[in-house]
């Protein structure tokens, strides 16, 4: 068993779900591909998950559930998502319950917890409207105050699980005057409203997550009691934005699961297929592509886990951290899937030849993650508006309160440290106190320099890590200078250059996260992690965003990384900095062998 407790649920779920390449296991690749072909909602899978009581892990302990920390949560969502993003997303719409855990009354919390636990209930988030997209304030859905409640009118579309769900979180206009206080949020329980006053819209046919219940909901003079309002009238936008800080960061887990499968199934092919007397993996170019994909997964892992733990340790900085991972992790891992498709060759385009065609499904399903729950540009926009303040804080805080900063970073990144309980009330609409992750660069450089006396470390590797982190620091200075000098404006007409700065900020944040992860976990994540080649290679990879390869230190040998990749594959372990145990195969898998023999004859 994994020593880190936050991975126990993920491991247990893995074990019980069984090997996805065994057609008979729950959520097997075969089953999810069949459902996808039929565009059918995965009822059976969802029921299995309810029976497993996974829904309890979506309810905070203080509300009667088992949820304790976000790093535990992202680990088991990865497990779901590596098998099937359609079911993972369908089941995880339940996480919008966080709106109630954050802002609900005790009664509302009780109602929702019991709905989830005892009635296998699901919820959906109804924010979008056809005419308004990302512009939430332009809402046409109205909730007009009447004695004892509201009259709801209007249509929400496109909404995932709008039809197959019992609770709809609806954002509606309660103040005709408009403005930031004109929206309110409602937890509409369908069982308690008149069915004559609402209708579900027809299924929307999508390119990916085809079995999803994508539809919409229309309210017509629908009375909803006051008890269905979440928080005070007018706090809808504030709640929506804070709720997004949570769900956006967690979207990274969907991408991580998808990237794992894309890499695993491609690696399986590359290790098995013989060409020119060798395996595909023996050829340097494909090997490099797969090794680089693994590095990207590790980088994203460090960024995601850091933010997941940050919810508990630094909630007032999450407005920045969650935008960083929603942009960086989802787009990076989308690129990973694209990149490895080249190694899978023609099979990435065939529906039956390799692992039931799961690769193509991953490619299609995964493409939505960077778009929904706040698109890439919306996240970068949320981040860039805060850059000026972040730069100011960085200057102001430089060199101050180093001990408390160190303690906060350790609490966030040391995976063995217990986390304080998460309190949603501490989330802030804009970052408070700067960004610890980038503020701590100086401290990280000191810690790295202290390691020079550690004889267990390869000095060349350490030297590179130091040199590369200094470059990260230089790039941050350049960025800060650009931000200070820029004619920064408010509003939605931001220059594309400012979006570029925001993207670069994310890269620097991710690079620093990798370094802290290493510094604080060198002694408990195994030899591969401790030796640090992966870190030097990752930092170099990230710095290619800023500098040409020839301006960077020579690339270290990546042999240790590619060997680790194969080792994890052979032992059925997650591609992760915490390579927890995946389900073991129950029987020798033979499907691909047959095709390989045919290929050799051809």
């Amino acid at each position: 068993m994994q020593p880190l407790k936050q991975y126990w649920i993920a491991e247990a779920l893995e074990k019980d779900l069984g090997d996805p390449t065994n057609p008979d296991s729950v959520m097997s690749f075969k089953q999810v591909i069949d459902l996808d072909e039929k565009e059918e909602f995965p009822h059976e899978i969802i029921n299995w998950l309810y029976n497993w009581k996974l829904q309890h892990y979506y309810i905070p302990a203080e509300c009667g559930g088992e949820f304790t920390s976000f790093d535990e949560f992202i680990a088991f969502v990865r497990v779901l998502s590596r098998r099937d993003q359609t079911s993972a997303i369908a089941f995880t719409t339940m996480f919008w319950s966080y709106l109630t855990w954050m802002a609900g009354t005790d009664e509302q919390k009780r109602t929702l917890a019991s709905f989830m636990k005892d009635a296998n209930g699901a919820m959906c988030l109804a924010y979008s409207e056809k005419a308004h997209g990302s512009d939430l304030l332009a809402s046409d859905v109205r909730a007009k105050k009447v004695p004892g409640g509201y009259i709801l009118n209007g249509e929400k579309w496109p909404i995932n699980r709008a039809t197959i769900s019992g609770v709809t979180f609806v954002l509606a206009k309660t103040d005709e005057a408009g403005g930031a206080r004109s929206l309110s949020l409602f937890m509409v329980e369908k069982s308690k409203i008149d069915p004559a006053n609402y209708t579900h819209l027809p299924k929307i046919y999508t390119h990916g997550i085809r079995g999803s219940d994508m539809s919409g909901i229309r309210f017509e003079n629908c009375f909803i009691p006051e008890s269905m309002r979440l928080g005070a009238e007018g706090v809808g936008l504030e709640l929506a934005l804070k709720g997004f800080q949570i769900t956006r960061a967690l979207c990274a887990a969907f991408s991580q699961g998808a990237a794992d499968t894309a890499l695993r199934t491609t690696l399986k092919f590359a290790l098995g297929r013989q060409l020119y007397g060798k395996t595909v993996f023996d050829m340097p170019q494909p090997k490099r592509t797969l090794t680089d994909a693994f590095l990207d997964i590790l980088i994203c892992d460090c960024a995601t886990i850091g933010v997941a733990r940050g919810f508990n340790t630094m909630p007032e900085q999450i407005s920045v951290w969650s935008a960083v991972v929603k942009y960086f992790v989802t787009t990076t891992l989308e690129t990973v899937v694209q990149n490895v498709s080249v190694v899978l060759g023609s099979r990435f385009y065939m529906r039956e030849e390799h692992d039931w065609g799961i690769f193509q499904k991953v490619l299609r399903d995964n493409a939505i993650i960077s778009m929904f729950d706040g698109s890439t540009v919306v996240n970068l926009h949320a981040l860039l508006l805060q850059l000026r303040q972040l730069t100011k804080s960085r200057v102001k805080n430089a060199g101050r309160n180093q001990d408390t900063l160190q303690a906060r970073l350790q609490a966030t990144f040391d995976l063995t440290q217990p986390l304080p309980a998460f309190d949603g009330k501490k989330l802030e609409l804009v970052n408070r106190g700067g960004d610890d992750v980038l503020q701590g660069l100086e401290l990280a450089l000191t810690s790295l320099s202290d390691l020079q006396t550690d004889s267990h470390l390869n000095s060349e590797v350490l030297q590179q890590i130091i040199q590369l982190l200094q470059m990260v620091q230089e790039e941050l200075k350049t960025l800060d200078h650009q931000i200070t000098e820029s004619t920064f404006q408010f509003g939605h007409e931001q220059a594309p250059e400012v979006f570029d700065i925001a993207k670069q900020y994310c890269v620097l944040h991710a690079a620093s996260s990798c370094v802290y992860m290493w510094l604080y976990n060198r002694h408990h994540l195994g030899d591969f992690f401790a030796s640090g080649e992966w870190l030097a290679l990752s930092l170099r990879k990230l710095l290619l965003t800023f500098r040409p390869a020839k301006a960077l230190p020579t690339r270290l040998s990546d042999e240790a990384v590619s060997q680790e990749l194969v080792r994890l594959y052979n032992h059925n372990r997650m591609f992760s900095i915490v390579p927890f145990q995946l389900a073991q195969p129950q029987q020798e898998e033979i499907t691909t062998d047959a095709t390989q023999r045919l290929q050799l004859q051809a």
Partner: protein, 128 residues
């Protein structure tokens, strides 16, 4: 939010003016419009300042006043006039640049509470 300067009543109208002036200039600058065209009684959304902008502008205001403010200040007090009055009369902030308060600048009371606020924040998080 504690009152920071409750015995400065005589100069409070001056403080309101100063904050109003600062907000007018800041918004004019950030939005690239003429300060003369900004009316302090109009909702800021009229000038194209949207909800997220008005949260980030509070950050600038915090720096200038050296005080911790609710980020949704301009959501709840959506005109320059209302926001300034709230800041002076309810929060009790006194801008350092208020002309008649020049002598008070050196003993400005905002520094200490602010330090406390950030220190206190970490204590809350770590559960102590």
């Amino acid at each position: 939010m504690q009152l920071k300067d409750s015995n400065s009543k005589p100069s409070s109208s001056n403080a309101v003016d100063t904050i109003q002036g600062w907000l007018v200039n800041q918004i004019a600058k950030q939005l690239g419009i003429n300060a003369q065209t900004i009316k302090i009684t109009e909702p800021l959304t009229r000038y194209g300042l949207d909800s997220i902008d008005s949260v980030t502008i509070v950050g600038e205001l915090e720096d200038w006043l050296d005080a911790e403010l609710p980020p949704t200040l301009l959501w709840d007090y959506p005109t320059i006039e209302k926001a300034s009055q709230y800041l002076v009369n309810e929060v009790g902030v006194t801008p350092a640049e208020t002309a008649t308060q020049a002598t008070e600048v050196t003993t400005k009371p905002q520094e200490a509470p602010k330090e406390k606020a950030w220190g206190g924040l970490w204590n809350k998080i770590s559960g102590s």
